[in-house]
């Protein structure tokens, strides 16, 4: 339990650092460390597969792309777009709503789901595969279709228009 509290403290600390640093590149690097602490959390939960996938996908790919874009734009204080107060207030309210939803969801789930409590081996590759391709096949396939749609959409948006009409 001691390790959990230590890693949890690190997660929260680096998440806060992500928000409070002024330099966008530092911000991304703190976010990378935050994701790394998440990986440690997954390992503590004996979910090795999730841990390593989180490591590869978030730290290895998505954050590299973030960094890539930031380096290309070379953002600094002068070029930072100033957000109006209205946008800030709206952002705060939306964030609070999300927090309330999560809290409610976790309270409902507490002690009910066998994947939340008990069954600690579900995170290993074999068990996870069996659960995903058997019990949760439909949601799994639907989410992959969702991702595919997003991918096709992104390609369509990025593609140069060669001819009108």
């Amino acid at each position: 339990m001691g390790i959990f509290y230590f890693v949890a403290f690190l997660s929260v600390f680096f998440a806060l650092m992500t928000i409070f640093t002024k330099n966008p590149v530092h911000s991304v690097l703190y976010l990378v460390i935050t994701f790394f602490t998440f990986t440690v959390h997954y390992i503590l939960l004996n979910a090795q597969f999730l841990a390593v996938v989180n490591f590869i996908v978030y730290m290895g790919a998505i954050m590299v792309l973030f960094l890539f874009v930031l380096m290309l734009l070379n953002l600094n204080k002068d070029t930072e777009p100033m957000k109006s107060t209205l946008v800030k207030v709206m952002g705060a309210i939306a964030g609070m709503c999300l927090l309330a939803t999560f809290l409610g969801a976790f309270r409902v789930l507490e002690g009910q789901n066998e994947y939340v409590t008990g069954n600690t081996d579900v995170g290993l590759v074999k068990n996870l595969g069996k659960v995903l391709f058997d019990e949760f096949l439909l949601p799994f396939e639907l989410s992959s279709i969702l991702l595919l749609t997003a991918m096709i959409g992104a390609i369509l948006l990025a593609k140069k228009e060669t001819k009108q009409g």
Binding site: G60, A61, L65, L67, F68
Partner: protein, 346 residues
């Protein structure tokens, strides 16, 4: 018992680490010797017999060179870049099985540092992390050429990771496990090597490995004809040395990985027919494994002095339009063949 276990793993880690560094060191000499051989000249031959002391001289020189951090550079990240590069290169060998078990005084000693459940993916994760070293170093240099090199490195490594991962999925469909120790154990003898069932997958994998290691013909991040020195333009002294070193370590580890996944690792033909004891099989196995690794390292160098560099758009086309569709076709083909085999030839 616990203490002995920790001690034995510690010794193994130190040995692996030392061997990795020595091989990386002598890869630099081998590269120059092979270049010399291919271009019909001697290569370095002044320091010691056959130039055997050349890497030591180079290392010493790196340490004593003046260390320059450019005025406009971001100091912390500028130093962190090569550090990340070398650390990620060194830790990626942790899951590679170097040989079978040794039996010393009735105690079984495994020649693999960690046989984790997700071995293959661990290597992938660490490789994916390696690009941060190049990106941070390139960006922190505050130099346009470095930045271009860093950006090229990032997009190249992400593009080729996809092809590499897909080619690996087909292999995993055959092996049905992610554990490297078990993947090697399945390939005992000669006919069971995975290369015989996954030739296309291996071809895709080795191409992607070249791109991931930033080796010619895919060394666009440090393309000196366009970018001066690429991401390490501003680096001097041992920091440059660390970047170079990490490149050679990556080459060594990916050679080891290819030998493990496709060429049977420590397995060699007729290994159980010669009437050798377990320890002798293990020792010969380790030697054979290193022979395979050296073969791949030689192949890396052979290609370097044979093929010209790709253009950047050609590189992207190859990655996205040829390798990825081929890898997906390979997955489908493997699936169909596995299904036919299970249904009709059981």
């Amino acid at each position: 018992m616990e203490g002995a276990f920790i001690l034995e793993k510690l010794i193994l880690v130190v040995v692996v680490f030392t061997v990795t560094l020595v091989i990386a060191m002598y890869s630099t000499l081998a590269e120059r010797k092979i270049a010399g051989f291919m271009q019909d000249r001697y290569g370095p031959d002044r320091a010691g017999i056959f130039g055997i002391l050349q890497p030591l001289c180079d290392g010493g020189k790196f340490f004593f060179k003046e260390e320059i951090i450019p005025a406009g550079a971001h100091k912390t990240l500028f130093i962190l870049g090569p550090v990340i590069a070398i650390i990620t290169a060194c830790i990626s060998s942790a899951v590679i099985p170097w040989g079978q078990d040794l039996v010393i005084n009735g105690r079984t000693v495994s020649l693999q540092v960690a046989d984790v459940n997700i071995g293959v993916l661990y290597v992938f994760g660490v490789i994916a992390l390696g690009v941060y070293g190049i990106m941070l170093g390139g960006w922190a240099s505050n130099n346009k050429f470095s930045l271009m090199g860093a950006i090229r490195a990032a997009s190249q490594s992400i593009s080729y990771e996809i092809g590499m991962g897909l080619s690996l999925i087909a292999l995993l469909m055959v092996t049905e496990t992610l554990q490297l120790g078990e993947i090697v154990a399945q390939q005992s003898g000669f006919v069971n090597w995975n290369i015989w069932v996954q030739p296309l997958g291996f071809l895709i994998f080795i191409t992607c490995a070249f791109a991931e290691c930033n080796r010619v013909p895919f060394d666009l991040p440090e393309c000196e004809t366009e970018l001066v020195g690429g991401y390490h333009t501003e680096y001097s002294s041992m920091k440059l040395g660390l970047y170079m070193f990490s490149e050679y370590i990556n080459m060594f580890v990916s050679s080891a990985l290819m030998a493990t996944l496709y060429f049977g690792g420590y397995n060699f033909p007729f290994m159980y027919d010669l009437g050798l004891s377990q320890n002798w099989i293990t020792i010969i196995g380790v030697l054979v494994f290193f022979l395979k690794i050296f073969g791949f390292i030689f192949f890396f160098m052979w290609i370097r002095w044979t093929l010209p560099r790709f253009r950047y758009d050609q590189l992207m086309n190859l990655g996205w339009k040829i390798l990825i569709p081929l890898a997906i076709a390979n997955i489908v083909l493997t699936g169909v063949i596995t299904l036919i085999k299970d249904t009709y030839f059981q």
